[in-house]
């Protein structure tokens, strides 16, 4: 058998698969960001906190109400989405006529508040959350041991991503959303309820973040900073894909997961930087990102 730079092909295969799983989180999170940025023109710095909320809500559902993982997968995005709706109505709705900067600042502040409140309530070292019984164990694929749960993560995220993409790019609702983003006043003057659309969109984007949070709870540390750690990378993913491009967010999310995975094998020291290097290169060559539309 051949080896690639000293790495046997089976191991490489395993790593590719892991990269894909990692990419699933990037994809859902960047999708949520892209939906919010693309349709609301808000750089949602609260996204990390909302992802974290998803995981914590799953924990609360389990420990306070006895509702398990599957319930959490449905309820946590809805609960987080409702908080998103409240945030949008109370705060963001006042900022649409302003520069991106203000939305960024506001969501940054909200992120701090949410993170701080959770830290006060739950401490910072995190909470336990188990993999649901149905998905414990794994398959021996020959070249690696593949936990069932990871397989489920990939399937769930692919389904969610495709469904979202379809709604926004291919349906009437999607064209309303895009129009509302670009020129809300005029869109409303056509009889479309823009404020409602925007509110629901934000709620949906937040729901996506929380969904990723629930998916993450059994395998990543459930702690108040879990979102802050991942969010900068996800921003980079969105930029590489093209701000606001739904397809871009999805494809780049998975793609970068894989690239990052490979870097972890060949040159682990660079695995934290590789996404930023790619981002710099991509932006120099394709200013609007891989899938971005130039205005």
């Amino acid at each position: 058998m051949f080896e690639l730079l000293g790495v046997p092909p089976q191991a490489l295969f395993g790593q590719l698969l892991l990269g894909l799983i990692n990419g699933s989180f990037y994809a859902i999170l960047s999708l949520g960001l892209a939906v919010i940025f693309g349709l609301l023109n808000i750089i949602n710095f609260t996204h990390g906190a909302q992802y974290m909320m998803g995981a914590f809500v799953a924990w609360m559902l389990l420990n306070w109400l006895g509702l398990g993982y599957w319930w959490a997968l449905v309820l946590a995005p809805i609960i987080a989405g409702v908080t998103g709706v409240v945030i949008e109505r109370l705060f963001l709705a006042r900022l649409y006529h302003l520069d991106h900067l203000y939305g960024l600042l506001l969501t940054f502040g909200l992120g701090l508040i949410i993170e701080g409140l959770f830290r006060n309530q739950f401490g910072s070292s995190g909470l336990p959350y188990q993999i649901p019984a149905e998905l414990r164990g794994g398959q021996n694929l020959g070249f690696m041991f593949m936990p069932n749960y990871r397989g489920w993560v990939v399937v769930a995220s692919v389904v969610v991503c495709l469904a979202t993409w379809f709604i926004i790019e291919k349906t009437k609702l999607g064209s309303y959303l895009r129009a509302a983003t670009e020129n809300p006043a005029l869109t409303e003057a056509f009889g479309i309820n823009v404020p409602l659309l925007i509110t629901l969109t934000y709620g949906f984007g937040v729901g996506l973040a929380a969904f990723a949070g629930v998916l993450a709870a059994p395998i990543y540390s459930v702690n108040p900073t879990m979102g802050a750690n991942i969010i900068i990378v996800v921003f980079a993913v969105v930029v590489i894909g093209g701000m606001g491009s739904i397809l871009g967010a999805i494809v780049t999310g998975f793609g970068l997961g894989i690239i990052e995975g490979l870097t972890k094998v060949f040159y682990p020291e660079a695995s934290a930087t590789v996404i930023f290097i790619i981002m710099a290169i991509v932006l120099l060559v394709k200013p609007a990102g891989l899938f971005g539309r130039t205005a």
């Binding site: 600042l105 940054f108 701090l112 701080g116 981002m279 932006l283 120099l284």
Partner: protein, 332 residues
Amino acid sequence: MADTAAYGTAPAGLALPETKGASALHRAIFIALAVALAVLPFIPVIGYPFFLMKVLCFALFACAFNLMLGYGGLLSFGHAAYFGLASYVSAYTAKHWGLTPELSILLGTASGAALGFVFGSLAIRRQGIYFAMITLALAQMVFFFSLQTPRFTGGEDGIQAVPRNNLFGLIPVGSDLAMYYLVATVFIVGVLLIYRVIHSPFGQVLKAIRDNEPRAISLGYRVNQYKLTVFVLSASLAGLAGATKAIAVQLASLTDVAWQMSGEVVLMTLVGGMGTVFGPIVGAAVIISMQNFLSGLGAWVTVVQGLIFVVCVLLFREGIVGVISKALRRPL
């Protein structure tokens, strides 16, 4: 080409009356600022020189950032890179080469400028949110570089116990008070320079580019060179602030290059009022004091900080100085 005869012959006093009044006001504010800086250390509670030095360094940093955002219309999300690199360079040269403060600071500033030139050349070709993101990406690389070259940066420990060598090899600045006056001088010079840049012919063109770039191009301005110039100026001044800070607080650390620092300087500028001359100074003072005086609140600090930002965005959008400037109907 007959019209060009108008040059020089037109009465020089034709400056727009409003600008004239404003510049008198600005002069008064600068004088008041200088006087305040001179006596502040002798005022109890807030007059703690160490705290003041920190405020001044960050105020200069915020002013440098504002030069680019408020006047150049370029939102950089990676300004910590210049601030941080310069603080490492000045700390390193002071500690390991034994350079005098003015030389360390100069070298730090130069490194900020050089990095600004490299990053600027890459970034100015892009606009808006992409510009912000590419600067963020480049700055992240500086961060990881700093984390992974402990030999130069001291890794997560930073460069600690940076010596305050004698200024020009002669004047001792070891005491906090002496150092404070050095920092205050650097600060005033830096802010005056920024003020001059804003109110120069160059600054005028910059405002025009910010307003309508294609139009500026069609008038024959090579906008990229202007953007690069302001980028490098801003990076150098950010470097100046970082280099001075390293000597003043005797520490250069990863905090200075982290993305949160880039975020903080945006916040300072916004809280104070972007596009105002004095806003970033006020903003920096507010944010730094807040961090200082709230540190006893423990885990609630982040919540309080977050609340302040939310309130600012919702209620004081123009920033503190912006609001005042609006009330006075004078640019500040």
